[in-house]
Amino acid sequence: MREVAVVSSAIHQVEALTFTTDVQLMVPLINEARSAVGLTQADIGFTCSGSSDFLAGQGFSFVQTLDAVGAFPPISESHVEMDGAFALYEAWVKLQIGEIDTALVYCYGKSSPGSRRDVLAVQMDPYTVAPLWPDAHAVAAIQARLLLESGAVSAERLAEIAVRSQHHAVGNPNALRASADATVASVLSEAMVSDPLRPSDIAAESDGGCVVVLAAGDRARSLCERPAWIRGIDHRIDAHALGVRDLTRAPSAALAALKAGAPDDHLDIAEMHSPTTSQEHILATELGLGPDTVVNPSGGALAADTLMAAGLVRIAEAARRISNGEADRALAHATSGPCLQQNLVCVMEGQ
């Protein structure tokens, strides 16, 4: 495997970008990430982005966002209709081939103009499930209910996850839900959104974007004092139909973690993309996290969940903590699809 590292990143997440176009959002973010390591677009070997036409309300929406990159002279470029973490995976693959040394990855999502829980219903089987318009919170609640009734976790434990996220999010400028005063009792006193999920069990919806610059080998060392080296990255998918899965498990997450080498050594931190507290509990089990791994030091996706970007934000947050010396070995995770159907794991190290 060729050595590839995260050398720079930029994140912006807010509640709603009502009067901001995707281009206006991404121009400053892309400039921030590139200029932090002294690169211009001419220095970038490959560019890859992730976004969703369904959020933009427009087919080929990413075409316009290309304007934020400055794509002339023409660039070598691709786009995935996936979270930016998967765009990073594609760029990492290109770097493995060895003909380029740098890559720019960006992604963005703006779900505030619509009702996210309804929009996600059209991700379900279009013939048998989507016509029933199962909203995303209700689908996640089925999973949470199964988890609680299996005895694997208690409502109090889920509340603890929510509280920890809110505490960690204090001081994160990109977090929407942060509170030093949150307690298990205060969370448990909240009214249900979709029984058994309370507001604090469900990720705070945000609009935003994220940019990451990747570099290989000596190029990474020359650009960054302490690059976050990608030691393993893998992604897997489970079946789609909810009825054929054990919803208290996420085998694709466990397999991706294994293939990415996560269990090989101690993890200082783990940034997980968990849209609900119940899903975070499932992921912690599947990813094999030990008691001394700090989980979601940024507050995680519960504190701010930008569709199509939350996964890449996790990689950026974990990489920052490696580059600033807080962590030596970190796991970052991204998910997609209902009930943790698809999962990506990226393991990074400072040495």
């Binding site: 369904f54 427009q58 087919g59 990413f62 075409v63 794509a71 995935v80 290109k94 279009p126 998918i237």
Partner: protein
């Protein structure tokens, strides 16, 4: 170390029709995938990963349909990537799959492009009103007709060159059992007399709206060597994109197109494409894009591409550079698959497996796709010989 050699082990296509009401989306993609596996002599368990591409999700009304299609594509427990790069997506998808082999991530990858346009309405899907911008509501033809007019003005091409391309591709389609439009009784006069949609584009010079899927199985060098059937070796791959709108942009022959062609030919060691390439599958959704791309790709001098059409150089029968022997996008257009069909048909030609539309002795072929406002380009050169 260099990149791993990559081979096309198998190709599978569905029949392209305006409505494939007999199958779901899952049934459609599975049909193409199983044909590709059968062609490669492989099983689902031989596949390490899947790379799928399609055009906007609004075309079927399903957000990220690859999630729902994971089961049908046999990739439970495997990696799946979903590519979306405008009209070039089918080509880009094949190139992402190729990179997984070239980078030695996987040994055998299934790649597939599809569109089931009958599930929705493409004109609606492309005309959603947007805040902060004015929709021209002109469709793709309305966008490209001024570019074609510019080409006609600067090249001095005779008015009926576009009709010649359309007639040629529809005749080629008669030799392709998968083609959507198979107009046995079509005459050149009917092509010329068809209604004008977006002057100078006649109805007869546009692509149809199709349901369909196209799949390929790609493998590494060892898999290529072990294949029971002839394989196509990848000699070069390139993608380029450029911004849509800025002063001085050459919209007829965008620099991204020229850069992409230069890159892919450099990798394949091609210095004289007209002489060294035996057959081309290029993305021609409106007839006039054949002479336009012939020039941009370097098969003809600037402003001279139309002469190749007029001389019959791009015909399957008797041409020295047959273009779109499958009938091309003008005869079948399941948008998300259209680019991959070009790449797959190029592979079939150098495998000598193109059936009735085979070019005798084809050894080197170009697969080409473009998208957006002629901004996104994906190309590969495949050959019968190992590079």
């Amino acid at each position: 170390m260099g990149s791993e050699r990559t081979a096309v082990l198998g190709v599978g296509q569905t029949h392209y029709r305006s409505t494939r009401g007999d199958v779901s989306m899952a049934g459609l993609v599975r049909e193409a995938a199983m044909r590709a596996l059968a062609d490669a002599g492989l099983e689902w368990s031989d596949i390490d990963a899947v790379v799928i591409g399609k055009a906007p999700d609004f075309f079927e009304g399903v957000m990220m349909p690859e999630l729902y299609l994971a089961d049908a594509l046999g990739c439970v427990g495997k990696p799946i990537l979903r590519v979306h790069t405008a009209g070039s997506v089918g080509g880009s998808t094949a190139l992402v799959a190729t990179s997984l082999i070239q980078g030695r991530i996987h040994r055998r990858v299934l790649t597939l492009g599809f569109e089931k346009q009958s599930e929705s309405n493409a004109t609606w899907a492309l005309s959603l009103p947007q805040p902060f911008s004015v929709s021209i509501n002109a469709g793709a033809g309305g966008y490209f007709s001024p570019i074609i007019r510019q080409y006609m003005a600067r090249s001095g091409a005779p008015e009926l060159v576009g009709c010649m391309v359309a007639f040629k591709d529809r005749q080629h389609a008669l030799s392709n059992p998968y083609a959507h439009l198979r107009q046995h009784d079509l005459t050149f006069e009917q092509v010329v007399e068809a209604p004008m949609l977006w002057d100078p584009i006649r109805f007869s010079e546009t692509c149809p709206s199709s349901d369909g899927a196209c799949a390929m199985v790609l493998g590494d060098e060892a898999a290529g060597d072990a294949s029971p059937r002839p394989v196509a070796w990848v000699h070069g791959t390139a993608m380029r994109s450029e911004a849509n709108n800025f002063p001085g942009r050459d919209e007829v022959s965008p620099q991204a197109s020229r850069d992409c062609a230069a890159d892919v030919f450099r990798q394949a060691g091609i210095t004289d494409p007209r002489r060294e390439i035996d057959v081309v599958e290029m993305y021609v959704p409106f007839s006039w894009f054949e002479p336009i791309w012939l020039e941009s790709l370097g098969f003809a001098e600037r402003d001279q591409g139309w002469r190749m059409v007029e001389e019959g150089a791009t015909r399957l029968e008797g041409g020295d550079l047959p273009v779109n022997c499958s009938g091309g996008v003008l005869s079948s257009n399941p948008i998300g698959a259209s680019g991959m069909i070009r790449f797959a048909e190029a592979a079939l030609q150098v495998r000598a497996m193109a059936g009735d539309h085979q070019v005798d002795g084809a050894r080197v072929a170009l697969g080409h796709a473009y998208g957006g406002g002629a901004q996104y380009f994906a190309m590969w050169v495949v050959g019968a010989d190992k590079p």
